[in-house]
Symmetry: C2
Subunit: 499 residues, 2 copies
């Protein structure tokens, strides 16, 4: 049984891969500081074994044989094999020398970035980043592409994504969203000072757990812990870990990171257990993953029905801070739109300007039209142009994200794709689930979760992102859905007249 | 550089082995219940890779070559190679069939034990245990032995330990300790009711952390968490995890498990970082490991100087429960000696009767002189004989320990060996460290820790247990040291006249 042998190899690889994820989870949550050195070594060793097992020639032969006799396989099996063979071929393109050089450069670049950000000194980081960008251009050549070198990188995070399509999307962002945000800026502003009173930690934690329980996040197949940067990871669909952070002087920090990671976690918990290790048991892409977190965080978790369901509970935790704030005032405070410096703190509309800027920069870097040394100036000009704000320092500007120092070029666009998919999925869900927002308002999240399970989670990687989107919503990704969502919601919130 | 290749292989194996330990730690501390199935599979996969890498023929050839040209190696390198070659040869003795049969039997035997203990039904467990004992006798034959089949099993946990030596030790336990405990039983009994008042969890936790800090347990290279059964594990000497449990109606439960695991943890933190993965970076044996935990738990942690240092802190946590109890009364309560049913709850003297009984049983099972079906009767008779108590049920008798169901025959004696080594080491420490107990009384544990680091921890497995004992104390393991410790301490505590 060749397919069984294929499955068995992927299961072994998944066992090791998930062990790496476990080491990584502990690293971010509980590991004592002196453990870092050996931990990195242990992760590197296991990663090496995964690479060895995946790129093994005999496995390659097996994949090709399976791929050559598709009639013996079911449709799902065939798609699995095709997907794995694609990954195999990509992995085989890298020489050992290139992998080692990339690993070394990444490590140096990351260290340099940490120091540079701390010392607000782009100059010392520039030579490392220059090296990294050169390697990324090399990598695009190694991987190959049809039209644009950036396509090769995008494909790693968002299979099938291309500059040609993203250009259309971000053109829409520029032409539609920029203008709308200007209208918001001109309107009467809402108030959110009460969000920054003192909110003791333990109560925030308990409230977060309540929210996750309400979402039907399965705590018998997962848990939440604290980490510096919230994330979701999993060791099977039966053990999915989310983390959050709590700031006692900022109620916003915990609540929406908790809902966001909960959305990621629900996707992971909804992947089919029987497909462990196979593409059909994996998430489709970062964009689709992000659509699940953003749908819960924004479409649901920043909506009025959601807060009608949950605000009284929150008031009970903090009567002193919130008893005089109505749920409508709270809802307005949750949805304040205002240009800001830091991507991760941005509201759900201006967020996409942050991504747009990074997208334009990454494309230009890959085309060779922009040099690293000119990055800060370029960055600051873009922030002026799209967000209308002056960047006070590189630490709060071009040095704010970890991604480039990790070599993760092509990653940022998946954040916007996630939001746009989320709006499109949510628009369909509202059509297909009768009285969806009434149900949310009554605290019943199950119909939505079941819809997501049925339409998205259970399929794993069986469909591509594009296929899934068409299957679920009847059309390919279309920015209008996001724009309609934004206009509907924020026109009311800011009393803006739209057509 | 053949030695470098050897070291590199062992480093890789350690990286995987410590990853398994990480998966195991999480399993006992934070893993959600549904994660168990895939976790077991992930551990099995990594264990298989370790076995493969360690028993690889090419590695065997390398070991033999290194062992054949000892002149090229330093003494430490030579000892490392000899040790690894010994382990390699042992591993190679097992056929794949035997390993798989043992693994299958263990899994079934463990499940059957859990059920049998729960239902207080030895009968349903007996056939599984019978199979296990037969396999263990087979294993002894596979491994080989000179005098007694049990020697082959003992050697896995306590290299070099033999029935011939243990018979002498346990004869001493019978002839000296049994009589002394009878004298204690005849004396006026001390009072410990106040230990079982209500002791809220959080304060116990904080007090435990204080005790670990005082022992100089390095929290930057370790941490404490909660688990059902306290244990210590490590992922390098720079990341050592201890766990504890807290019972709100029993102050004894947390405190001494905390000090005990702290002792194990200090040993692991004291192993030389530069010898990662090598025998010279590992603990010598379970007995020596246990000597470190018991020395801290009993010689130090159940001593009057220790409580003179710490009792006021404890009173501050629980003034209502303890303000009327003097430190002397507390010390007496800490050291109540009384025969009991359950090994893990026994005092530091009668504990060894529990081990003696298990030792005699394991020996008889290995000799074929005792059959599994007769075990409960035999067990109960021994408890009557050595502890003078009637066993009310098999669940609280022969079914109480997990060890046999795991196939861990030969493990129990290391608990007693640990205590006896501990007494002997501590007697030497008192001679060599001026005013040791005055220092402890002032809360200064550093001189003792430094002595243990210098004499024991830093050597890893360079010496055998027997060599280390002679080097540190000037003689081989001698039960008199434990007996002297017991007589000194308990004659005072119970007002017993001894010669």
């Amino acid at each position: 049984m060749k397919y069984e042998a294929y499955k068995s190899r992927l299961t072994t690889i998944a066992d090791i891969g998930y062990s790496i994820a476990m080491l990584g989870w502990d690293q971010e949550t509980y590991m004592p500081e002196k453990g870092a050195g050996f931990r990195a070594q242990q992760i590197a060793t296991l990663s090496g074994i995964v690479h060895e097992k995946f790129t093994d020639k005999e496995f390659g032969k097996l994949l090709k044989k399976l791929d050559d006799s598709p009639k013996k396989l079911s449709e799902k099996q065939r798609r699995n094999v095709t997907q794995t063979l694609k990954d195999y071929k990509r992995q085989k393109k890298y020489t050992r020398e290139f992998v080692e050089l990339l690993s070394k450069t990444t490590s140096e670049c990351f260290q340099s970035w940490q120091k540079a950000r701390h010392e607000n000194s782009f100059k010392q980081y520039a030579p490392h980043l220059t090296k990294m960008i050169a390697l990324k251009r090399k990598e695009a050549d190694i991987l190959g592409y049809k039209k644009h070198p950036y396509d090769a990188l995008l494909d790693q995070y968002e299979p099938g994504a291309r500059v040609a399509d993203l250009d259309v999307l971000f053109k829409d962002v520029r032409s539609q969203l920029v203008g709308f945000v200007k209208k918001i800026a001109a309107a009467k502003q809402n108030e959110d000072k009460f969000m920054y009173l003192h909110y003791p930690k333990d109560k925030q934690w308990n409230f977060g757990i309540e929210l996750l329980e309400q979402m039907h996040y399965d705590f018998k197949a997962g848990r939440q812990d604290i980490s510096a940067h919230p994330f979701t990871t999993s060791f099977s669909s039966k053990d999915v870990r989310v983390t959050t952070r709590i700031a006692e002087d900022n109620l916003k920090s915990m609540i929406w990171s908790c809902i966001h990671e909960g959305g990621h976690g629900l996707y992971e918990q909804g992947l089919p257990e029987s497909e462990y290790g196979l593409p059909s048991g994996e998430a489709i892409s970062l964009g689709i993953h992000e659509s699940q977190s953003r749908l819960w965080e924004n479409m649901v978790g920043r909506g009025l029905p959601y807060w009608k369901a949950n605000y009284k509970k929150l008031q009970k935790y903090y009567p002193g801070n919130l008893n005089k704030v109505t749920v409508e005032q709270f809802y307005k405070a949750v949805n304040i739109v205002t240009p800001s410096l830091i991507r991760t703190e941005a509201d759900e509309l201006t967020y996409h300007f942050h991504i747009l800027i990074r997208y334009e920069i990454e494309k230009a870097l890959m085309e060779g039209k922009l040099e690293v040394k000119d990055l800060p100036e370029y960055w600051n000009a873009k922030y002026k142009e799209y967000l209308g704000i002056k960047v006070p320092s590189d630490a709060k500007g071009v040095l704010q994200d970890i991604h480039w120092s990790h070599g993760s070029l092509g990653y940022f666009p998946t954040y916007s794709l996630g939001s746009f998919y989320a709006a499109q999925f949510y628009a369909t869900a509202k059509k297909e689930i009768k009285g969806l927002e009434d149900k949310i308002e009554s605290g019943n999240m199950l119909p939505l979760l079941e819809w997501l399970r049925e339409k998205i989670h259970r399929h794993g990687k069986y469909y591509s992102a594009e296929e899934l989107c068409k299957k679920v919503t009847g059309e390919k990704l279309n920015f209008n859905h996001f724009m309609n969502y934004a206009k509907d919601k924020y026109s009311t919130l800011y009393n803006i007249k739209t057509l």
